[in-house]
Protein backbone atom coordinates (compact mmCIF):
# COMPACT_ATOMS: atom_id res chain seq x y z
CA UNK A 1 0.00 0.00 0.00
CA UNK A 2 2.76 2.44 0.90
CA UNK A 3 4.53 1.26 -2.26
CA UNK A 4 1.49 2.18 -4.29
CA UNK A 5 1.24 5.59 -2.65
CA UNK A 6 4.92 6.28 -3.27
CA UNK A 7 4.50 5.15 -6.89
CA UNK A 8 1.53 7.47 -7.39
CA UNK A 9 3.28 10.37 -5.69
CA UNK A 10 6.26 9.99 -8.02
CA UNK A 11 4.41 9.58 -11.29
CA UNK A 12 0.92 11.01 -10.97
CA UNK A 13 1.75 14.75 -11.21
CA UNK A 14 3.49 14.26 -14.56
CA UNK A 15 0.68 12.08 -15.86
CA UNK A 16 -1.89 14.70 -14.81
CA UNK A 17 0.04 17.30 -16.85
CA UNK A 18 -0.10 14.84 -19.74
CA UNK A 19 -3.81 14.33 -19.19
CA UNK A 20 -4.27 18.08 -19.46
CA UNK A 21 -2.81 18.06 -22.98
CA UNK A 22 -4.90 14.99 -23.87
CA UNK A 23 -8.07 16.83 -22.79
CA UNK A 24 -7.07 20.03 -24.60
CA UNK A 25 -6.70 18.02 -27.80
CA UNK A 26 -9.90 16.05 -27.22
CA UNK A 27 -12.14 19.03 -26.50
CA UNK A 28 -10.47 21.31 -29.06
CA UNK A 29 -10.57 18.56 -31.67
CA UNK A 30 -14.23 17.86 -30.88
CA UNK A 31 -15.21 21.50 -31.46
CA UNK A 32 -13.37 21.58 -34.81
CA UNK A 33 -14.88 18.19 -35.76
CA UNK A 34 -18.43 19.26 -34.85
CA UNK A 35 -18.23 22.45 -36.94
CA UNK A 36 -16.59 20.78 -39.93
CA UNK A 37 -18.75 17.68 -39.69
CA UNK A 38 -22.02 19.63 -39.81
CA UNK A 39 -20.69 21.91 -42.57
CA UNK A 40 -19.41 19.04 -44.73
CA UNK A 41 -22.36 16.77 -43.94
CA UNK A 42 -24.83 19.45 -45.09
CA UNK A 43 -22.48 20.49 -47.89
CA UNK A 44 -22.53 17.05 -49.45
CA UNK A 45 -26.33 17.31 -49.78
CA UNK A 46 -26.11 20.62 -51.61
CA UNK A 47 -27.35 20.80 -55.20
CA UNK A 48 -24.49 23.14 -56.08
CA UNK A 49 -21.35 21.32 -57.18
CA UNK A 50 -19.25 24.21 -55.88
CA UNK A 51 -20.32 23.20 -52.39
CA UNK A 52 -20.86 19.45 -52.62
CA UNK A 53 -17.58 18.59 -54.36
CA UNK A 54 -15.23 20.31 -51.89
CA UNK A 55 -17.21 18.73 -49.04
CA UNK A 56 -16.88 15.34 -50.70
CA UNK A 57 -13.16 15.85 -51.36
CA UNK A 58 -12.52 16.85 -47.74
CA UNK A 59 -14.33 13.79 -46.38
CA UNK A 60 -12.57 11.37 -48.71
CA UNK A 61 -9.09 12.81 -48.18
CA UNK A 62 -9.24 12.76 -44.40
CA UNK A 63 -11.01 9.40 -44.17
CA UNK A 64 -8.73 7.87 -46.72
CA UNK A 65 -5.31 8.78 -45.36
CA UNK A 66 -3.52 7.91 -42.14
CA UNK A 67 -4.01 10.35 -39.28
CA UNK A 68 -0.38 9.86 -38.32
CA UNK A 69 0.84 10.85 -41.78
CA UNK A 70 -1.50 13.86 -41.74
CA UNK A 71 0.03 14.97 -38.44
CA UNK A 72 3.52 14.58 -39.80
CA UNK A 73 2.59 16.50 -42.89
CA UNK A 74 0.96 19.41 -41.08
CA UNK A 75 3.77 19.66 -38.56
CA UNK A 76 6.92 18.93 -40.54
CA UNK A 77 5.98 19.75 -44.15
CA UNK A 78 3.71 22.82 -43.94
CA UNK A 79 6.47 25.03 -42.43
CA UNK A 80 8.31 24.66 -45.75
CA UNK A 81 5.33 26.34 -47.39
CA UNK A 82 5.46 29.13 -44.82
CA UNK A 83 2.79 27.84 -42.44
CA UNK A 84 4.42 26.91 -39.14
CA UNK A 85 1.50 26.44 -36.79
CA UNK A 86 2.23 25.83 -33.08
CA UNK A 87 2.22 22.17 -32.06
CA UNK A 88 -1.01 22.39 -30.04
CA UNK A 89 -2.88 24.12 -32.87
CA UNK A 90 -1.60 21.52 -35.34
CA UNK A 91 -2.75 18.70 -33.09
CA UNK A 92 -6.24 20.15 -32.53
CA UNK A 93 -6.62 20.94 -36.22
CA UNK A 94 -5.54 17.54 -37.58
CA UNK A 95 -7.50 15.54 -35.02
CA UNK A 96 -10.54 17.77 -35.65
CA UNK A 97 -10.20 17.50 -39.44
CA UNK A 98 -9.97 13.74 -39.11
CA UNK A 99 -12.94 13.21 -36.81
CA UNK A 100 -14.88 15.85 -38.72
CA UNK A 101 -14.62 13.76 -41.89
CA UNK A 102 -16.21 10.80 -40.14
CA UNK A 103 -18.76 13.00 -38.39
CA UNK A 104 -19.77 14.50 -41.75
CA UNK A 105 -20.88 11.03 -42.83
CA UNK A 106 -22.83 10.61 -39.61
CA UNK A 107 -24.58 13.96 -40.18
CA UNK A 108 -25.31 13.18 -43.81
CA UNK A 109 -26.77 9.74 -43.13
CA UNK A 110 -28.80 10.94 -40.12
CA UNK A 111 -30.43 13.63 -42.24
CA UNK A 112 -31.03 11.15 -45.06
CA UNK A 113 -32.75 8.82 -42.61
CA UNK A 114 -35.39 11.32 -41.55
CA UNK A 115 -38.57 10.27 -43.35
CA UNK A 116 -39.18 12.09 -46.65
CA UNK A 117 -42.74 12.65 -45.49
CA UNK A 118 -41.43 15.19 -42.99
CA UNK A 119 -40.16 17.38 -45.84
CA UNK A 120 -43.40 16.98 -47.77
CA UNK A 121 -45.48 17.80 -44.72
CA UNK A 122 -43.35 20.88 -44.07
CA UNK A 123 -43.78 22.10 -47.63
CA UNK A 124 -47.52 21.47 -47.46
CA UNK A 125 -47.60 23.80 -44.45
CA UNK A 126 -45.84 26.48 -46.49
CA UNK A 127 -42.46 26.32 -44.75
CA UNK A 128 -39.31 27.02 -46.73
CA UNK A 129 -36.55 24.40 -46.94
CA UNK A 130 -34.27 26.12 -44.45
CA UNK A 131 -36.95 26.24 -41.81
CA UNK A 132 -37.86 22.60 -42.41
CA UNK A 133 -34.22 21.60 -42.08
CA UNK A 134 -33.56 23.55 -38.89
CA UNK A 135 -36.92 23.13 -37.13
CA UNK A 136 -38.22 19.76 -38.33
CA UNK A 137 -35.47 17.56 -39.76
CA UNK A 138 -32.41 18.51 -37.69
CA UNK A 139 -34.01 17.90 -34.27
CA UNK A 140 -34.91 14.38 -35.39
CA UNK A 141 -31.54 13.80 -37.05
CA UNK A 142 -29.73 15.02 -33.93
CA UNK A 143 -31.17 12.18 -31.87
CA UNK A 144 -29.83 9.71 -34.42
CA UNK A 145 -26.42 11.41 -34.59
CA UNK A 146 -25.63 11.31 -30.91
CA UNK A 147 -24.77 7.63 -30.33
CA UNK A 148 -22.27 7.46 -33.24
CA UNK A 149 -20.97 10.90 -32.22
CA UNK A 150 -20.19 9.49 -28.77
CA UNK A 151 -18.21 6.71 -30.43
CA UNK A 152 -16.28 9.24 -32.50
CA UNK A 153 -15.54 11.35 -29.44
CA UNK A 154 -13.99 8.42 -27.57
CA UNK A 155 -12.10 7.47 -30.73
CA UNK A 156 -10.80 11.04 -30.98
CA UNK A 157 -9.70 10.97 -27.35
CA UNK A 158 -7.70 7.81 -27.94
CA UNK A 159 -6.21 9.15 -31.17
CA UNK A 160 -4.65 12.01 -29.21
CA UNK A 161 -1.85 9.58 -28.34
CA UNK A 162 -0.59 10.10 -31.90
CA UNK A 163 0.45 13.68 -31.25
CA UNK A 164 3.52 12.68 -29.25
CA UNK A 165 5.08 12.58 -32.74
CA UNK A 166 4.83 16.34 -32.96
CA UNK A 167 6.48 17.27 -29.66
CA UNK A 168 3.31 17.45 -27.53
CA UNK A 169 3.60 15.63 -24.20
CA UNK A 170 0.13 14.15 -23.84
CA UNK A 171 -0.76 11.28 -21.54
CA UNK A 172 0.97 8.52 -23.51
CA UNK A 173 4.14 10.51 -24.03
CA UNK A 174 4.19 11.65 -20.40
CA UNK A 175 3.98 7.97 -19.48
CA UNK A 176 6.92 7.27 -21.78
CA UNK A 177 8.96 10.00 -20.13
CA UNK A 178 8.27 8.58 -16.66
CA UNK A 179 9.08 5.13 -17.96
CA UNK A 180 12.42 6.31 -19.34
CA UNK A 181 13.30 7.54 -15.85
CA UNK A 182 12.39 4.44 -13.86
CA UNK A 183 11.83 1.69 -16.48
CA UNK A 184 8.69 0.61 -14.56
CA UNK A 185 6.87 -0.27 -17.75
CA UNK A 186 4.12 -2.51 -16.44
CA UNK A 187 2.65 -0.37 -13.61
CA UNK A 188 3.03 2.86 -15.58
CA UNK A 189 1.16 1.63 -18.62
CA UNK A 190 -1.45 0.04 -16.35
CA UNK A 191 -1.99 3.46 -14.78
CA UNK A 192 -2.25 5.10 -18.21
CA UNK A 193 -4.86 2.52 -19.27
CA UNK A 194 -6.93 3.32 -16.18
CA UNK A 195 -6.76 7.05 -16.85
CA UNK A 196 -7.87 6.63 -20.48
CA UNK A 197 -10.69 4.34 -19.36
CA UNK A 198 -11.88 6.85 -16.75
CA UNK A 199 -11.86 9.72 -19.25
CA UNK A 200 -13.78 7.63 -21.80
CA UNK A 201 -16.42 6.84 -19.16
CA UNK A 202 -16.86 10.53 -18.33
CA UNK A 203 -17.19 11.45 -22.02
CA UNK A 204 -19.72 8.68 -22.65
CA UNK A 205 -21.77 9.64 -19.60
CA UNK A 206 -21.93 13.18 -20.94
CA UNK A 207 -23.10 11.99 -24.36
CA UNK A 208 -25.73 9.71 -22.79
CA UNK A 209 -27.13 12.62 -20.77
CA UNK A 210 -27.33 14.68 -23.91
CA UNK A 211 -29.12 11.82 -25.68
CA UNK A 212 -31.72 11.68 -22.92
CA UNK A 213 -32.24 15.39 -23.11
CA UNK A 214 -32.65 15.42 -26.91
CA UNK A 215 -35.11 12.53 -26.94
CA UNK A 216 -37.06 14.11 -24.06
CA UNK A 217 -37.23 17.37 -26.04
CA UNK A 218 -38.74 15.48 -28.93
CA UNK A 219 -41.24 13.82 -26.61
CA UNK A 220 -39.88 10.34 -27.28
CA UNK A 221 -38.74 7.66 -24.90
CA UNK A 222 -35.06 6.94 -24.74
Amino acid sequence: MTDLLAFLRTHLPALVEGLRVTLQLTLGGAVVAALLGVAAGLGRRSRSRWISWPAHLYVEIFRGTSAMVQLFWFYFALPFFGLGLPALVTGVLVLGLNSGAYFAEVVRSAIAHVDRGQWEAGRALGLDDRTILSRVVMPQALAMMLPPAGNLLVELMKNTALVSLITLSELTFATQVQRAATLQTVPLFALALLVYFAVAQVLLTGVRRLERRVTAYRGLRA
Binding site: T10, F76, F80, G84, L85, L88, A180
Partner: protein, 297 residues
Protein backbone atom coordinates in the same frame (compact mmCIF):
# COMPACT_ATOMS: atom_id res chain seq x y z
CA UNK B 1 -33.62 23.54 -7.58
CA UNK B 2 -32.95 23.63 -11.35
CA UNK B 3 -30.51 26.51 -10.80
CA UNK B 4 -28.59 24.55 -8.17
CA UNK B 5 -28.53 21.45 -10.35
CA UNK B 6 -27.24 23.45 -13.25
CA UNK B 7 -24.53 24.93 -11.04
CA UNK B 8 -23.26 21.49 -10.03
CA UNK B 9 -22.51 20.95 -13.72
CA UNK B 10 -21.42 24.44 -14.61
CA UNK B 11 -18.85 24.92 -11.87
CA UNK B 12 -16.70 21.86 -12.66
CA UNK B 13 -17.02 22.63 -16.38
CA UNK B 14 -15.76 26.18 -15.88
CA UNK B 15 -12.91 25.00 -13.63
CA UNK B 16 -11.96 22.40 -16.23
CA UNK B 17 -11.87 25.01 -18.98
CA UNK B 18 -9.73 27.33 -16.87
CA UNK B 19 -7.29 24.48 -16.23
CA UNK B 20 -7.20 23.48 -19.89
CA UNK B 21 -6.87 26.98 -21.31
CA UNK B 22 -3.42 27.36 -22.96
CA UNK B 23 -0.94 29.02 -20.63
CA UNK B 24 1.36 31.81 -21.81
CA UNK B 25 4.01 30.32 -24.05
CA UNK B 26 2.13 27.16 -24.92
CA UNK B 27 0.91 28.55 -28.19
CA UNK B 28 4.04 30.46 -29.15
CA UNK B 29 5.99 27.48 -30.37
CA UNK B 30 5.33 28.07 -34.04
CA UNK B 31 7.98 27.21 -36.57
CA UNK B 32 10.66 29.81 -37.18
CA UNK B 33 13.41 29.73 -39.79
CA UNK B 34 15.31 32.14 -41.96
CA UNK B 35 17.12 35.37 -41.17
CA UNK B 36 19.91 35.56 -38.64
CA UNK B 37 19.06 32.77 -36.21
CA UNK B 38 21.42 33.93 -33.46
CA UNK B 39 20.07 37.49 -33.57
CA UNK B 40 16.52 36.15 -33.30
CA UNK B 41 17.45 33.92 -30.36
CA UNK B 42 19.27 36.75 -28.60
CA UNK B 43 16.27 39.00 -28.99
CA UNK B 44 13.93 36.33 -27.61
CA UNK B 45 16.40 35.52 -24.84
CA UNK B 46 15.51 31.86 -25.22
CA UNK B 47 17.09 29.17 -27.38
CA UNK B 48 14.83 26.26 -28.27
CA UNK B 49 16.67 22.95 -28.24
CA UNK B 50 15.37 19.63 -29.52
CA UNK B 51 15.98 16.44 -27.53
CA UNK B 52 14.69 12.87 -27.41
CA UNK B 53 14.72 12.11 -23.68
CA UNK B 54 17.65 9.73 -23.80
CA UNK B 55 19.78 9.61 -20.65
CA UNK B 56 22.59 10.50 -20.16
CA UNK B 57 22.71 12.67 -23.32
CA UNK B 58 19.60 14.79 -22.90
CA UNK B 59 16.69 13.95 -20.66
CA UNK B 60 14.15 15.28 -18.19
CA UNK B 61 15.08 14.69 -14.57
CA UNK B 62 11.65 13.56 -13.41
CA UNK B 63 12.31 14.48 -9.77
CA UNK B 64 12.94 18.15 -10.59
CA UNK B 65 11.37 18.46 -14.05
CA UNK B 66 14.61 20.02 -15.30
CA UNK B 67 16.01 19.37 -18.76
CA UNK B 68 19.50 18.03 -18.17
CA UNK B 69 22.19 15.71 -19.55
CA UNK B 70 25.49 16.18 -21.35
CA UNK B 71 24.12 18.18 -24.28
CA UNK B 72 21.63 20.55 -22.57
CA UNK B 73 24.07 21.44 -19.78
CA UNK B 74 26.81 22.21 -22.30
CA UNK B 75 24.32 24.14 -24.45
CA UNK B 76 23.31 26.25 -21.43
CA UNK B 77 26.96 27.11 -20.80
CA UNK B 78 27.67 28.02 -24.42
CA UNK B 79 24.45 29.98 -24.91
CA UNK B 80 25.12 32.02 -21.76
CA UNK B 81 28.42 33.12 -23.27
CA UNK B 82 26.57 34.02 -26.46
CA UNK B 83 24.26 36.25 -24.43
CA UNK B 84 21.26 33.93 -24.31
CA UNK B 85 19.99 33.44 -20.78
CA UNK B 86 17.63 30.51 -21.15
CA UNK B 87 17.13 27.31 -23.04
CA UNK B 88 13.76 25.74 -23.66
CA UNK B 89 13.50 22.04 -24.44
CA UNK B 90 11.29 20.64 -27.20
CA UNK B 91 10.80 16.93 -26.64
CA UNK B 92 10.39 14.68 -29.66
CA UNK B 93 11.19 11.15 -30.77
CA UNK B 94 14.78 10.55 -31.84
CA UNK B 95 13.82 9.78 -35.43
CA UNK B 96 11.88 13.07 -35.68
CA UNK B 97 14.72 15.33 -34.47
CA UNK B 98 16.15 16.19 -37.89
CA UNK B 99 12.77 16.77 -39.62
CA UNK B 100 11.67 18.95 -36.69
CA UNK B 101 14.90 20.99 -36.79
CA UNK B 102 14.53 21.54 -40.53
CA UNK B 103 10.90 22.56 -40.10
CA UNK B 104 12.02 25.24 -37.62
CA UNK B 105 10.44 23.64 -34.55
CA UNK B 106 13.62 24.40 -32.58
CA UNK B 107 16.98 26.05 -33.20
CA UNK B 108 19.47 23.32 -32.41
CA UNK B 109 19.49 19.57 -31.73
CA UNK B 110 21.08 18.98 -28.32
CA UNK B 111 20.66 15.23 -27.99
CA UNK B 112 24.24 14.00 -28.23
CA UNK B 113 23.58 13.07 -31.87
CA UNK B 114 26.47 11.32 -33.62
CA UNK B 115 28.06 12.97 -36.63
CA UNK B 116 27.58 10.69 -39.64
CA UNK B 117 27.97 11.43 -43.38
CA UNK B 118 24.25 10.78 -44.17
CA UNK B 119 23.19 13.18 -41.39
CA UNK B 120 25.75 15.76 -42.59
CA UNK B 121 23.78 15.93 -45.85
CA UNK B 122 20.74 17.07 -43.85
CA UNK B 123 22.09 19.27 -41.05
CA UNK B 124 25.23 21.17 -40.11
CA UNK B 125 27.09 19.84 -37.06
CA UNK B 126 29.20 21.56 -34.43
CA UNK B 127 32.55 19.93 -33.65
CA UNK B 128 32.11 16.84 -31.46
CA UNK B 129 31.85 17.11 -27.68
CA UNK B 130 32.55 13.47 -26.81
CA UNK B 131 33.60 10.14 -28.34
CA UNK B 132 32.40 6.75 -27.10
CA UNK B 133 32.04 3.14 -28.16
CA UNK B 134 29.20 0.66 -28.39
CA UNK B 135 27.68 -1.98 -26.10
CA UNK B 136 24.91 -4.61 -25.92
CA UNK B 137 22.30 -5.28 -23.23
CA UNK B 138 21.58 -9.02 -23.00
CA UNK B 139 19.51 -11.23 -20.65
CA UNK B 140 21.40 -12.20 -17.47
CA UNK B 141 23.97 -14.88 -18.19
CA UNK B 142 24.15 -13.91 -21.88
CA UNK B 143 22.38 -17.14 -23.02
CA UNK B 144 23.34 -16.77 -26.70
CA UNK B 145 26.93 -15.83 -25.77
CA UNK B 146 26.93 -12.66 -27.89
CA UNK B 147 29.95 -10.39 -27.62
CA UNK B 148 29.71 -8.05 -30.57
CA UNK B 149 28.07 -7.25 -33.90
CA UNK B 150 29.98 -9.94 -35.86
CA UNK B 151 29.17 -12.48 -33.18
CA UNK B 152 25.49 -11.69 -33.51
CA UNK B 153 25.65 -11.86 -37.32
CA UNK B 154 27.22 -15.33 -37.12
CA UNK B 155 24.74 -16.68 -34.54
CA UNK B 156 21.72 -18.08 -36.37
CA UNK B 157 18.42 -16.82 -34.99
CA UNK B 158 19.97 -14.02 -32.91
CA UNK B 159 18.17 -10.70 -33.37
CA UNK B 160 19.39 -7.17 -32.69
CA UNK B 161 17.17 -4.47 -31.15
CA UNK B 162 17.87 -0.86 -32.14
CA UNK B 163 16.07 2.50 -31.78
CA UNK B 164 14.43 4.31 -34.74
CA UNK B 165 16.79 6.69 -36.46
CA UNK B 166 19.72 5.68 -34.22
CA UNK B 167 23.17 4.88 -35.52
CA UNK B 168 23.11 1.21 -34.47
CA UNK B 169 20.83 0.34 -37.39
CA UNK B 170 23.54 1.52 -39.79
CA UNK B 171 26.18 -0.43 -37.85
CA UNK B 172 24.08 -3.61 -37.99
CA UNK B 173 23.63 -3.27 -41.76
CA UNK B 174 27.28 -2.38 -42.32
CA UNK B 175 28.34 -5.55 -40.51
CA UNK B 176 25.95 -7.59 -42.65
CA UNK B 177 23.14 -8.47 -40.24
CA UNK B 178 20.10 -9.15 -42.46
CA UNK B 179 17.05 -6.90 -42.04
CA UNK B 180 14.81 -9.76 -40.92
CA UNK B 181 16.98 -10.09 -37.80
CA UNK B 182 16.84 -6.39 -36.93
CA UNK B 183 14.09 -5.22 -34.55
CA UNK B 184 13.43 -1.48 -34.56
CA UNK B 185 11.97 0.04 -31.36
CA UNK B 186 10.62 3.59 -30.88
CA UNK B 187 12.91 4.37 -27.92
CA UNK B 188 15.53 2.83 -25.65
CA UNK B 189 13.21 1.76 -22.79
CA UNK B 190 11.07 -0.14 -25.32
CA UNK B 191 14.17 -1.86 -26.69
CA UNK B 192 15.21 -2.88 -23.16
CA UNK B 193 11.71 -4.20 -22.42
CA UNK B 194 11.94 -5.96 -25.78
CA UNK B 195 15.03 -7.85 -24.62
CA UNK B 196 13.33 -8.72 -21.30
CA UNK B 197 10.28 -10.01 -23.15
CA UNK B 198 12.34 -12.01 -25.65
CA UNK B 199 11.41 -9.80 -28.63
CA UNK B 200 15.08 -9.24 -29.43
CA UNK B 201 18.25 -11.05 -28.33
CA UNK B 202 20.14 -7.83 -27.55
CA UNK B 203 19.65 -4.10 -27.35
CA UNK B 204 22.47 -2.36 -29.17
CA UNK B 205 23.17 1.12 -27.85
CA UNK B 206 26.01 3.41 -26.99
CA UNK B 207 28.29 2.54 -24.13
CA UNK B 208 26.82 5.22 -21.86
CA UNK B 209 23.16 4.59 -22.72
CA UNK B 210 23.65 0.94 -21.84
CA UNK B 211 25.27 1.77 -18.49
CA UNK B 212 22.55 4.24 -17.67
CA UNK B 213 19.68 1.90 -18.55
CA UNK B 214 21.17 -0.98 -16.57
CA UNK B 215 21.52 1.28 -13.56
CA UNK B 216 17.79 2.04 -13.64
CA UNK B 217 16.23 -1.27 -14.58
CA UNK B 218 15.31 -4.01 -12.14
CA UNK B 219 14.92 -6.64 -14.88
CA UNK B 220 17.46 -9.53 -15.02
CA UNK B 221 19.64 -8.00 -17.72
CA UNK B 222 23.35 -7.35 -18.07
CA UNK B 223 25.97 -5.78 -20.28
CA UNK B 224 27.59 -8.18 -22.76
CA UNK B 225 31.18 -8.59 -21.50
CA UNK B 226 33.73 -8.66 -22.99
CA UNK B 227 32.60 -6.64 -26.00
CA UNK B 228 34.43 -6.77 -29.31
CA UNK B 229 35.09 -3.35 -30.78
CA UNK B 230 33.03 -2.72 -33.87
CA UNK B 231 35.26 -2.58 -36.95
CA UNK B 232 33.92 -1.24 -40.24
CA UNK B 233 36.20 -0.82 -43.30
CA UNK B 234 39.20 -1.76 -41.21
CA UNK B 235 38.65 0.97 -38.62
CA UNK B 236 37.42 0.77 -35.05
CA UNK B 237 34.11 2.62 -34.92
CA UNK B 238 33.59 5.28 -32.31
CA UNK B 239 30.63 7.59 -32.10
CA UNK B 240 31.25 11.35 -32.02
CA UNK B 241 28.34 13.31 -30.58
CA UNK B 242 27.68 16.93 -31.43
CA UNK B 243 25.07 19.69 -31.73
CA UNK B 244 23.21 20.02 -35.03
CA UNK B 245 21.97 23.15 -36.81
CA UNK B 246 19.94 23.97 -39.89
CA UNK B 247 22.08 24.09 -43.07
CA UNK B 248 21.27 27.80 -43.57
CA UNK B 249 22.29 28.82 -40.08
CA UNK B 250 26.04 28.84 -40.79
CA UNK B 251 26.71 32.09 -38.90
CA UNK B 252 24.88 30.77 -35.86
CA UNK B 253 26.72 27.43 -36.01
CA UNK B 254 30.11 29.12 -36.39
CA UNK B 255 29.51 31.42 -33.41
CA UNK B 256 28.32 28.49 -31.30
CA UNK B 257 31.19 26.30 -32.45
CA UNK B 258 33.78 28.92 -31.57
CA UNK B 259 32.59 29.18 -27.96
CA UNK B 260 32.20 25.40 -27.83
CA UNK B 261 35.79 24.86 -29.00
CA UNK B 262 37.06 27.09 -26.20
CA UNK B 263 34.93 25.19 -23.66
CA UNK B 264 35.29 21.46 -24.45
CA UNK B 265 38.08 19.94 -22.37
CA UNK B 266 38.23 22.70 -19.76
CA UNK B 267 37.73 21.89 -16.07
CA UNK B 268 34.39 23.71 -16.13
CA UNK B 269 33.23 21.46 -18.96
CA UNK B 270 34.46 18.27 -17.30
CA UNK B 271 32.83 19.16 -13.96
CA UNK B 272 29.59 19.79 -15.82
CA UNK B 273 29.45 16.44 -17.64
CA UNK B 274 31.03 14.10 -15.08
CA UNK B 275 27.72 13.48 -13.27
CA UNK B 276 26.47 11.93 -16.53
CA UNK B 277 29.33 9.45 -16.88
CA UNK B 278 31.46 11.53 -19.28
CA UNK B 279 35.01 12.58 -18.46
CA UNK B 280 38.52 13.15 -19.73
CA UNK B 281 38.50 9.68 -21.37
CA UNK B 282 35.45 10.54 -23.48
CA UNK B 283 36.90 13.79 -24.88
CA UNK B 284 36.81 13.71 -28.70
CA UNK B 285 40.37 14.88 -29.38
CA UNK B 286 41.24 17.22 -32.26
CA UNK B 287 38.89 15.69 -34.86
CA UNK B 288 36.44 18.15 -36.48
CA UNK B 289 32.90 17.89 -37.78
CA UNK B 290 34.20 18.38 -41.32
CA UNK B 291 36.52 15.36 -41.08
CA UNK B 292 33.76 13.20 -39.58
CA UNK B 293 31.33 14.25 -42.30
CA UNK B 294 33.81 13.08 -44.92
CA UNK B 295 33.67 9.68 -43.29
CA UNK B 296 37.06 9.36 -41.57
CA UNK B 297 36.75 8.18 -38.00
Amino acid sequence: MPLLRRLTWALPAVLLLVWLWPRPGELERGAMTGGDALARIREAGVARIGFANEAPYAFIDTTTGRLTGEAPELARLVFRQLGVREIEGVLTEFGALIPALKAGRFDVIAAGMYITPPRCAEVRFSDPTYAIGEAFIVPAGNPLDLHGYEDLRDTPGATIGVVTGAIQLEYARAVGIPDDRIRIFPNAPSAVDGVSAGRASVYAGTDLTVNDLLRRTTAPLERAEPFDDLVIDGQVVKGYGAFAFRPDDTGFRDAFNQVLGATVGTDTHLALVEPFGFGRETLPGPITALELCQGSS
